[in-house]
């Protein structure tokens, strides 16, 4: 009798997954599914469009009323005033439309004139051009331009 004849080499089914490991797998997938749903709810359903532009907000000002939303525009040159509560400035949209922003809190370090910003807050009334903001976010552009492109390097290595 050969070695193999004495052995039972009939294929056997793999042992069934234990209840504990199945429960663990289900828990992992439920957690991951919940994470995707939470992310979708927060990011996509609430803020697929993260902000309204100045033009859009002014066009729908009556319906917006004093509800809180995010407003985007360019900080108008020479209009920034540092206040005891934060900063106030005019924000330009297209078509020569602008909104006066009175913001509370410390603006981000890049906050300055002529850059796009997003402010979170609300109009003071249905007809007002004043926007009370509780947060300023700087929306930097996709362009990268050297700070001092015309500087020349002297033979000794110093920059002028």
């Amino acid at each position: 009798m050969s070695d193999t004849e004495s052995l039972d080499l009939t294929p056997v089914a793999a042992p069934p997954t234990t209840r504990r490991s199945r429960r663990r797998n289900v828990a992992v997938f439920v957690a991951l599914f919940a994470a995707v749903v939470a992310l979708l709810a927060q990011g996509v359903l609430h803020s697929l469009n993260y902000f309204d532009t100045v033009d859009q907000a002014l066009a729908t000002r009556a319906s917006l009323g004093t509800t809180t939303f995010r407003l985007e525009g360019i900080v108008a040159a020479h209009t920034i005033t540092r206040t005891s509560r934060g900063a106030s400035f005019w924000m330009d949209g297209g078509n020569a439309k602008r909104v006066f922003v009175d913001a509370v809190g410390q603006p981000p370090q890049l906050f300055q004139s002529n850059i796009p910003v997003v402010v979170l807050g609300h109009f003071t009334s249905r007809t007002s051009d004043t926007f009370d903001a509780t947060q300023i976010l700087v929306k930097h552009t996709a362009s990268y331009i050297a700070a001092h492109p015309s500087r020349v390097r002297a033979p000794n290595g110093t920059v002028r």
Partner: protein, 240 residues
Amino acid sequence: MMKLLSQRLLGPVTLVLLALTVWLGIWVTPPDRIQGNLARLVYVHPAVAWVALYVSFGTATIASGLYLWRRTRSMVMDRVAHCAMEVSAVFIILTLITGSIWGRPTWGVWWAWDARLTSTAILGVFALAYLALRRANDDVEVRARRSAVFALLAAINVPIIHFSVQWWKTLHQNATVFTSTRTLLIHGIMAWTLLISFVAFTLLFFWLLRARYRLEEARDEEVARGLEEALAERQREGVR
């Protein structure tokens, strides 16, 4: 010969290019007009995101597709998809971390629920779900098929992430390199450093993928050897 040479050079070339990126990014390139020195993160974050979304997730998707296609179906494809997805998960997490580090001083917040950031976070959860799915089944073929189908479905999110800044209004900036008008919005030494960083991180991906693949191969060999030893043991028991 060439294959061996390229395999041997992959690691050193990657390290040299990463070092070159660091040197150019910190000491040679000028600060940006608006962002100042914060703009130096442009030599890290976009390249990491490029690897996370397009190179590694793309490799995992293509390998998954090739596994599902009968003509090219092999465990090599499944293994490549698995390893690439693991590297992708790491790079997606790095993308979110570097973006957050950049966002705090520029935007003023660590995180914003805009379409670009949220869809990238969802891709990260998909990558983790893929890895969890692989652990949920011991049957090699069933596991390979299910994870390949899942990878293809998850890949639908990649174009959504890419176009999110064009389709919706986001806090995240628009594209600097892959712009809709094909215009590069970065110039001179800054552009060259950005290009080098893309090449360096792409090579880093292939280096990591190769190392991870070899590890997976060794693990499979170990399992096969263990099975053979168990069979031999059974045979010896049968003889006795």
